[in-house]
Subunit: 415 residues, 4 copies
């Protein structure tokens, strides 16, 4: 297999760098554990689109070639994080945990203190005393220089041709967008005068990736990352980006089911969605200012798919006992022939990080592919991965999917 | 409005005949009540695909132009049937019932005694003493001649250019198919020698429609209707047909949801579906020999959509108190990244006849359109209407839908 | 039957008065329609505890003997209210509506303008222009005198020995209780100086009933009705009272299920309850200040039954399309042997007024019985009817029930 | 506390023997693992009624004093069985498994080959080649002598004063009961003439326990165990017995909820229960002849609690992917005031062995207590533990519970 790979991609560098913002979170930990377990043959490709026959012939980088590093604000090691997941959720089985210990240690050596700039009180609280080695005080420009140097050092040390950056930090309170965020120069001036209220950690991370011309996957709903000024910077530097907010659970089901009501001309009167989750994610989303970002991302799609406004609600509640095992109940009230009213309800019991981790791996490989194909700006063909796909109005999962299939067919033919 | 219609379809006959086999069943009654209520402006187009913007510009016959007649084995009148539905299920509201009384009386005058040939013991029992005017004894050939004459008389009396035939009779026990059913001549010989075990009522009805060269919509799962010999007869006489088994409730949801699991490479381990319904339909399906036809039609699609075999079950139970308000619960157990197991469950609470009646009206209009466009044989573009679309392997609701959209776009452009 | 009644209650007055505060609400309308339909033999005793064998031999007043009047702030007639229910929810069937028209007209003649004193903005809005005949301005003392006179006139006109008063007005914003409400004299002085912020409409209604020495059923959660000062007044005047907040749906199920977890020593970790309803009730409860009263009443019981604090939530959402057909979903996460976690979830689909109306009729009859038995103060044996039974710590439905059974057995023996 | 125990049971033997029929099944394994983990302080008392304050002062034997042995027909060791559970269901956590390894080894040394007499084809198949050491052929009398000797040897070796026997073998096909089973002598004669069709393995086990005068807990629904002839033998030998069929999941919820409908005079029209489970238990119950016993036990209680016949169904389906994590969905359709129909549905997701194991431990301790109190015959006060309590007509969980509370209060006062 090594032989085949070498022959088909002789001109490619040996390995692909992956830089995770939020490197010790439940999702990042599951991504790294899963990638390494897959590389070592300890687990199959379940959950990975890029391991299905659809991607046969598409020149994607093997998962085994990924090298991981990242930024993090909390103390701890990847092994501690993985053990916590094993014990609390059981989603990382013991044999897999045991099998990737050395890999987690290597990953841990590439984790550097991240950004806490204006992160909001809940995230500050979770960060606790912070990560050892983080500077006590620094200006935004100093911070940007530091984070940039971290990624550059990772690239050099691992002799990487390319690093895909992925934003996995907790959902932040919404950033109030002003003229400053819309204009490249205005935003640079805000950084120059150290205007901390103009940024969130995601803003800094996205800015660093854009400055370095690296592809960027924005997997959370935080609106502070891909502000217009930063999108322009990505485009100037010829790097593509994808986002926002991975579509993993209740919203995925919504976007799969809603078209059915449209096909049958059944009018949806009300669609109520109740989400419960525990874990660090649940703590963050229990905070009204953080929750608002998420709810908007989850609620918008229905009227777009159905073509009319409707009564809808998305609630997110923190239920500590559930841990990462999210449970959601949706109730859909609809009207059919002769005005008769009927209902559909569903209960989704999934594990967010188990559902999201393979999407992250898929997105890394597809962002790498797009970069090699010299694609630039928002990767619209990846809409089916996101709750709020950038510059895409289509929320129907099936239409999004068929767009991706066309892209992959084309990429496979050329690859 | 009459003026506009006349001007746009000057070369079309004034009205379109619709002949319903099973004319006093809950579904047929809802079809006629709904069509007339719509024609009189008593109800909107909810549930009707053919009343959505997708059909703008497609030259479909207005619902107000449909004239109804049919065959039935039970005694009674359409008004009695509609009143029973109003009282037991509440799906036909009183103002609508009052508004279409005269129309139901007219429909009643075009109902003739149907076929009970080898219908099975449950349907025989429901038929009771049978419909007044039915001949005490007749050979299959005599019966065919009588039913044919009924439709011809309906056509002449109403000066109809075309009659669309629709099979709405209760699900029959499966017919064991032999060489006799595969060969045109062999089947004619079986009729000649009055071989009653070779047919079900649906066989006779389909044969009559095919002989008359009339378009035929097979809305039930009974396998005795569109046997190969009769399909050939339709094709010889240049008439199209569509079927089988309207996709209205739990199976509709299944075919909308299953693709989502494929997109995300989430392996479905088990898919259990439990259906409960009361009513005459429930009585018939409580009978194992009748239920078998239905279950096979509901269960087949999952492995086709997912691409692998899986543990699945479809149960149908008779729960008298529910009447026509069907309730179904599905439990889906699936495996994701790292082999982790999760679940989705849904409860569907719909009313079968309310969901099915608009599909029947859509199919009548689309079968009429296809006939005018000189289409012949199975109407594959109507796959999204059926649980077991004839000669179509695709069960993914969304792929089926996109096929229909392409057809309608084309028909609209030409219309 | 008339004979039997006459003989057993020779010394009793002919009829029992019932005065409904909130006389045109959905619940009051269903109470009167149901009572009269039952009296006329148009419906059975389903839902009525007092019509089961448990009450055989207990000297309860026949439902046919109840005479209804009440206070209301909105314009309209009982027939209009009943028609609205018939059309929107279908819970009052047409034959019943037709059969009690004359009775509703009679009831309408005994409805008088009620109290809007400090009702809160949502109830004010729903009251619209108010009921014709209501005085433009009056002091609290003038209002009390007017309402008292209304009930006295009703009693005289119908030659009633006793009138049971029932509070069915919409849930009010909580009244902040102060020393004024705790002391009989202080409260009288507050009325004297027309201190409107010290009362809600329920306060006025309860005060009127207490002053007249009439039994009082408090069927809503509003805390302004049975304040200590008024409870003392009831006790001084020798009248019993019962409340608060009828236990009809999700809370009923909760109080039936929670003991099971206790019996099995299964530790409930989280109990999340999501309630959805439309209708006027839903509008009122959508208002945070009104909702707070209700949520507290629904949430309190779990830790009392289970014996330990737990993570719980009660959400109430306004979903207009549901009307009075309330849907609630509860998720219960619990821990068993070896610390293993499991779950139970339920979906309740009930109609609040259909569930509550028979409880109101039961309570009227049982309050009348208690009065005849010279009982006084809070009727603790009626705890199983209420979410927040007054002076009762026991929330276990079964324990409450066994208490009622003992009472009825005793009353039957003496009756 | 150790002091208290010593003082209260000075005259008691040191330890209590427990003999498990079906010693390597999932339930028996969880019982032993759990008892030893509890004894070693590795897990709390969750799930155990006998560890709640209700039993304070009741002279129950400490769990740490139980010594286990048993009969089994399959090969293997307790450690293998526990590992299989850990890996497939995760219900036995790794730290607990590690902590009780030595105890499982000791238990394994007390497991002897059991009875396969007329067990039915499914159980035969699961037994495979059988347990090493089982005699190739023996008469019923020889088998009884062998099994008796096993228990006697266990008692002697561990110097036990008393052994409680517990039947945990898989649900057997129903035994057709004849005169032979009703009469002590007739049954003895059937054993003498080696009439194998007259027994099931449970019959043999119960006979052995009865002959030895040992208390017997019948935790399964098999009707062959407590046949009249054997019940007489228990009574002659002065040993009490309890059964049948542990009430752990869906039936438990049923018996907790059904009384609520009675209290409110809400007429249950239909109660449909669908159970899904995998595992060895699921395989056995997938067999129609074995399932029949279980279904009857689960279905009977509703009409008893409600007081009228109703439409009900209990389905049990084998869904391998679920393992021991049973999922059940119940749908309850009921009618209230004015004949209005409503519904309640619930989904139970529990783990059968986790729910059953603490009941088994409770029953062992309570059967031991009853024996010390010289109780004899069926232990009716333990009805709340069983789906089909012997000689008890009351199925209402709450009434059963209050019976137990009275017994324990009494036992505590005397203890």
């Amino acid at each position: 297999m090594a032989t085949r790979r070498r022959s088909t991609k002789r001109s490619e560098p040996e390995r692909l760098g992956v830089w995770l913002f939020g490197a010790l979170g439940g999702l990042a930990t599951t991504v790294v554990v899963g990638a390494r377990a897959h590389a070592r043959g300890l687990t199959g490709g379940q959950g990975l689109l890029t391991e299905t026959p659809l991607c046969d012939g598409v020149p994607l980088r093997p998962i085994a070639d990924l090298v991981f590093g990242g930024h993090e604000i909390r103390p701890g090691t990847p092994l501690q994080a993985a053990r916590e997941i094993h014990e609390q959720n059981g989603t990382i089985p013991r044999p897999i945990l045991d099998g990737v210990k050395a890999d987690l240690a290597a990953f841990g050596r590439s984790i550097r203190p991240g950004s806490k700039s204006n992160a909001g009180k809940t995230i500050d609280r979770l960060a606790g005393t912070g990560r050892p080695g983080a500077p006590a005080a620094e200006t935004l420009r100093e911070q940007i220089a530091r984070l940039t140097a971290d990624i550059e050092a990772f690239r050099r040390r691992n002799r990487l041709d390319r690093v895909v950056c992925v934003n996995l930090v907790s959902t932040e309170p919404a950033l109030r967008l002003t003229k400053t965020h819309r204009d490249r120069d205005a935003f640079e001036r805000a950084l120059d005068r150290d205007q901390r209220t103009a940024v969130r950690p995601s803003t800094i991370y996205a800015y660093v990736a854009a400055s370095l011309g690296l592809p960027f996957v924005h997997f959370t709903p935080s609106n502070g990352a891909l502000i217009p000024a930063i999108r322009k910077l990505f485009e100037e530097n010829g790097a593509p980006y994808a986002g926002a907010d991975g579509k993993t659970g209740e919203t995925l089901v919504k976007s799969a089911l809603a078209p059915m009501f449209r096909y049958r001309n059944l009018r949806v009167l009300s669609w109520q969605g109740y989400n419960m989750l525990g874990d660090r994610d649940g703590v963050v989303l229990a905070e009204p200012e953080n929750k608002a970002s998420k709810v908007e991302s989850k609620d918008r799609l229905l009227s777009q798919i159905l073509g009319y406004p409707l009564h809808s609600k998305v609630a997110i509640d923190y239920v500590p006992s559930l841990g990462d095992l999210k449970t959601a109940w949706d109730f859909i009230h609809f009207e059919g022939f002769l005005g008769y009213r009927m209902s559909l309800q569903f209960t989704w019991q999934g594990c967010d990080s188990i559902l999201a981790a393979p999407l992250v791996l898929d997105l890394i490989r597809l962002a790498d592919l797009a970069t090699r194909r010299s694609e630039n700006g928002p990767l619209r063909h990846l809409a089916c991965f996101f709750k709020s796909p950038i510059d895409v109005e289509e929320h129907d999962l099936h239409a999004q999917w068929h767009g991706l299939v066309r892209y992959l067919t084309d990429a496979g033919a050329q690859g």
